[in-house]
Amino acid sequence: MRRFLSALIALGLIIILLEFLNLIPDFGNVDLSKRVSNSFINKSVDGNNETIEFKKSKDLEDGSANVVTSIVVNYRSFDTLGEVTVLFTAALGVGLILKGLRRKRFYREPNFILKTANGILLPLIFLFGAYIFIHGHLTPGGGFPGGTIIAAGILVLYLSNEKFELSHRAKILESGMGTVYVLFGLVGLILSGIFLRNFLPTGVIGELFSAGIVPLIYVAIGFKVGAELSNLISEFQKEGQQ
């Protein structure tokens, strides 16, 4: 009876959701001028209506060439601060729940191929991760994917080396980088009275050194997410006493 009811509820939800799908306008048929995103794309929130040229336009209200980044870390930076906090809370919870467990050991040598390949690939993985978050305001990517790639490197280290332990410094890095993000917001509050204000000049669009505090925040997020997920991996490598 219980199963039947659950199936009935799930079926009802599926029908409702399929019904809702019809309400969404077709692809390409949306009047963008009625949406706030139009101003994000044209970078015209403050009323600037000039056309934007790559590597030429200077001192725009927002200097990142990647439109996703300009929304995520500039126009709606507060949401990103919140998302960073969600990940932080989740990692903290894993730490609290798995507290007091030891590192799981298999007591056998990892595969030779894995160990050798690790020596060659690890610097490249880290370099690629750093590239992704340093260029977050220019190319697709940013702090979250970059940090995840770095944490993937740590996972490879864990798999290829039975004795590897993440040092306590990863926790300090995680905490410090989160603090840096909030401090950037507070510096804006002190300098101009507005929390998370982009207080640096935005420069020429498309240059590496542009977009004000956006790349700095993305570097902080990259390190934070990398350290956080690495900590998660090290927590999940543990086992309970039996």
């Binding site: 309400l23 919140g82 906090t85 969600v86 919870g93 609290l96 300090i172």
Partner: protein
């Protein structure tokens, strides 16, 4: 300035995972700072984060409604920080994050931002639910909370599809067209879990009755109150009261099911958890009547309920042997339960009376009938527990810490004062109700009369 109420606790939460023990000492000062910021602020304040003007960036809105709700939430956290014994080691950071997210949840004027803060609240709440080894309850909450969170997100997306904006005031100003029904249903599913509405509240008893006094004390008071505010804000200010009938029916069902289930419990904590569900249902039903008196009654009742629950939950977790040696705690417990039942001269009587009179003047006879039924059932089980705990023979006391004893005593005297002189709570709840109903004023203060 009001962004500091979110930034400062978050900053300390980040720092406190390296400097362990900092969170414990910092919590009372952070909460006092928040209250100080509230005292020097004059409503309405609209702060545009990052300097982007209203419909484009994220705005924090401190109008009369969010002012009083944030004040109540911070006062609850202040009381909690004064009883540090119930916060176990390592959970201080979670409390700081919960403070951050609850403040953000109430202050934000942006739908997606409120989703982000609901996510932080929920993540912190799952961890609190796991407290004292309650894996099953926490897992159940995790699954149902995660699903409801995705419905909330879907509702936000549909609002963006319909109104082209995420700012609550801007959405309220634009129309959805045919999407209204979809958005309302998605928000009911999304908020129903946290607001403890009937078919979605199955997680509550397992989480509240896990034996930790921290979990129900904070989730059943501050978080519930913030969610009730958000429910009123979204369904009345943003959605203009469409689909409130569904909320009304769900609220009434919640009251009936919650009270009947509470009557059948043989553990005090579980009974109180079901009573929490029932009170939440009553508040939602009163909110859905959508007029000034019923909303005032709803928030007034919610405040009485959280005051009573702040007494009942901590005492119920520590008391095992009866009140013979703890007469003061027993006194507070009885006052709180009488207020919950709604005996005359206690705070709960005033708010229930207000809800009933507002329902009668709106020509509604079902809500008063359900309320009478609920009060009788409440009287039955709460009196049973009072009699059992007062007349149980015991030689030793329950080791209730002195600061908890003082706080519950002060709160119980507050309940008695509210019962005779209700203006203290009534003024605040009337301001909340007025401000939630004043859609045009909200739009004007956020968008600046565009």
């Amino acid at each position: 300035m009001i962004s500091l109420m979110i930034a400062i606790p978050l900053l300390f939460a980040f720092v406190s995972i390296v400097f362990k023990g900092l969170a414990k000492y910092a919590l009372p000062f952070i909460v006092l700072l928040n209250i100080l910021i509230l005292l020097i602020a004059s409503t309405p304040v609209v702060e545009n984060i990052g300097g982007w003007k209203a419909p484009f960036g994220i705005s924090l809105v401190l109008d009369d409604a969010s002012y009083y709700v944030v004040l109540v939430v911070n006062l609850i956290f202040l009381l909690l920080s004064l009883i540090p014994q119930i916060i176990d080691k390592g959970y201080d950071t979670i409390i700081l994050l919960l403070l951050t997210s609850t403040n953000g949840l109430v202050l934000t004027g942006d739908l997606f931002n409120s989703f982000v803060f609901i996510e932080i609240t929920a993540a912190a709440a799952y961890i609190l639910a796991y407290h004292r080894n309650n894996p099953y309850g926490a897992f159940k909450y995790l699954i149902i909370g995660g699903i409801s969170g995705s419905f909330y997100l879907l509702g936000t997306i549909f609002s963006y599809v319909g109104a082209g904006s995420l700012n609550m005031a801007h959405i309220s100003n634009n129309s959805f067209g045919q999407l209204t029904a979809a958005i309302a249903i998605l928000f009911i599913l999304g908020l129903g879990v946290e607001a403890k509405l009937f078919p979605l509240a199955g997680w509550v008893p397992d989480v509240y009755a896990s034996g930790s006094s921290l979990t129900p004390t904070i989730l059943g008071t501050a978080i519930t109150f913030a969610i009730m505010y958000l429910t009123g804000r979204i369904f009345i200010t943003v959605l203009h009261g469409t689909f409130l009938d569904v909320l009304y029916i769900l609220g009434l069902l919640t009251v009936i099911v919650g009270e009947v289930a509470a009557l059948r419990q043989d553990k005090l904590l579980r009974a109180l958890a079901y009573s929490s569900i029932a009170q939440a249902g009553l508040v939602v039903a009163a909110i859905s009547l959508n007029n000034i008196d019923s909303l005032t009654g709803a928030y007034f009742h919610s405040m009485n309920d959280l005051t009573a629950k702040f007494i009942l939950f901590p005492i119920a977790t520590v008391v095992i042997k009866g009140f013979e040696k703890d007469r003061l705690a027993g006194f507070a417990f009885s006052v709180a339960s009488f207020s919950l039942i709604g005996f005359p001269l206690f705070a709960g009587f005033r708010s229930k009376l207000l809800i009933i009179s507002s329902a009668f003047s709106a020509g509604n006879y079902i809500l008063p009938a359900v309320l009478f039924f609920a009060s009788i059932v409440e009287a039955a089980y709460l009196l049973k527990w009072n009699i059992k705990l007062w007349f149980e023979k015991s030689d030793t006391s329950n080791n209730i810490p002195w600061n908890l004893k003082t706080i519950v005593l002060v709160l119980s005297i507050l309940l008695l004062i509210i019962g005779i002189y209700p203006d203290l709570y009534l003024d605040a709840s009337r301001k909340i109700a007025q401000s939630i109903l004043d859609t045009q004023g909200y739009i004007n203060s956020v968008l600046g009369g565009i």
